[in-house]
Symmetry: D2
Subunit: 101 residues, 4 copies
């Protein structure tokens, strides 16, 4: 089970705004059954690696379709095979450590 | 005004767990006045760049002090000078785009 | 045409060494026709996005097959549709700017 | 001893080109004694963490001074305390593994 954070950064667009691309990506994710959460630096999606790469393939083109001609895409995947870790679980674990210390 | 996401990844530790390092980093952040938020991939802190780099200098050594001997640290800074964007603001902006579309 | 940098970081392995995983990834890349180059932070491969994601799918499991149970994978893709940029081209472009300035 | 990779991505600039920022960063690095190497995804510099953060503070503002109003800066630091690893050493290590296998 893995968590993937996707960050989309267009270069050479007319404005400094990126929100419209992110919103479009969310609309696509909404059509799937995959859990996701927007954070301050990107969109986190949860699944096994083949599900995640299939999703990336689907949403990767969105900024280009909306007119961007150069895009830097950052992907960070945290994949562990020793236990199931979903969206929010790592935050809860840290809070429990802090509460117990 | 910038947002900085910090992700700390120890290599060669006895366990697959990273939460204790993250908890320790939060304790240090709690001693400052800097706004921060934990997300699924790291800790986001908010400030101007000199404040942020000073914080990084302070918390960078924590995993080593706790015994790690190799650490990969990922930092992503989103810095804009055209308007003030704090923690949560980009998420709200996307939600407003989605609500209006 | 895009460049993709892949960085593989195992967590909870017995040693601080990562080179054996990287070597195995290179062996797999060697079997393909895709251009690649190892740098100080990862492996850069060149192709269009569907080629690149197909390669990632193939090499992603290597650290797990070699025994890792938690792996953080960083991927950065620089994709531009306005011109063809291959491995080494951006470095050459910067050198030309420096030589001309 | 650590290696740091810096990647600078301006948002909302008139063109898709980033090379002029990178060239300016190199000129600043050239004034220091710090080892550095440009790769396909960024600039790698070598030093201990306090040297590296001091360098970052110095070169961070360059894109803004050149007119950018929003910049995403990616920093990856690979810091190990068990042995000295300089620019190029990890590449050599992988080549040795491959040559011996």
């Amino acid at each position: 089970m893995a968590l993937l954070q996707l960050t989309t950064i267009p270069i050479g667009t007319a404005t400094t705004s990126v929100g419209s691309y992110v919103a479009e990506i969310q609309k696509e994710l909404e059509k799937t059954n995959i859990p996701y959460r927007l954070n301050d630096m990107g969109t986190v999606i949860e699944g096994n690696i083949s599900e995640l790469l299939a999703i990336i393939e689907k949403i990767y083109e969105i900024p280009f379709e909306k007119g961007a001609i150069r895009v830097v895409t950052q992907i960070v995947i945290d994949d562990r095979r020793d236990k199931k870790v979903g969206i929010g679980d790592k935050i809860t674990a840290v809070q429990q450590i802090l509460a117990g210390s």
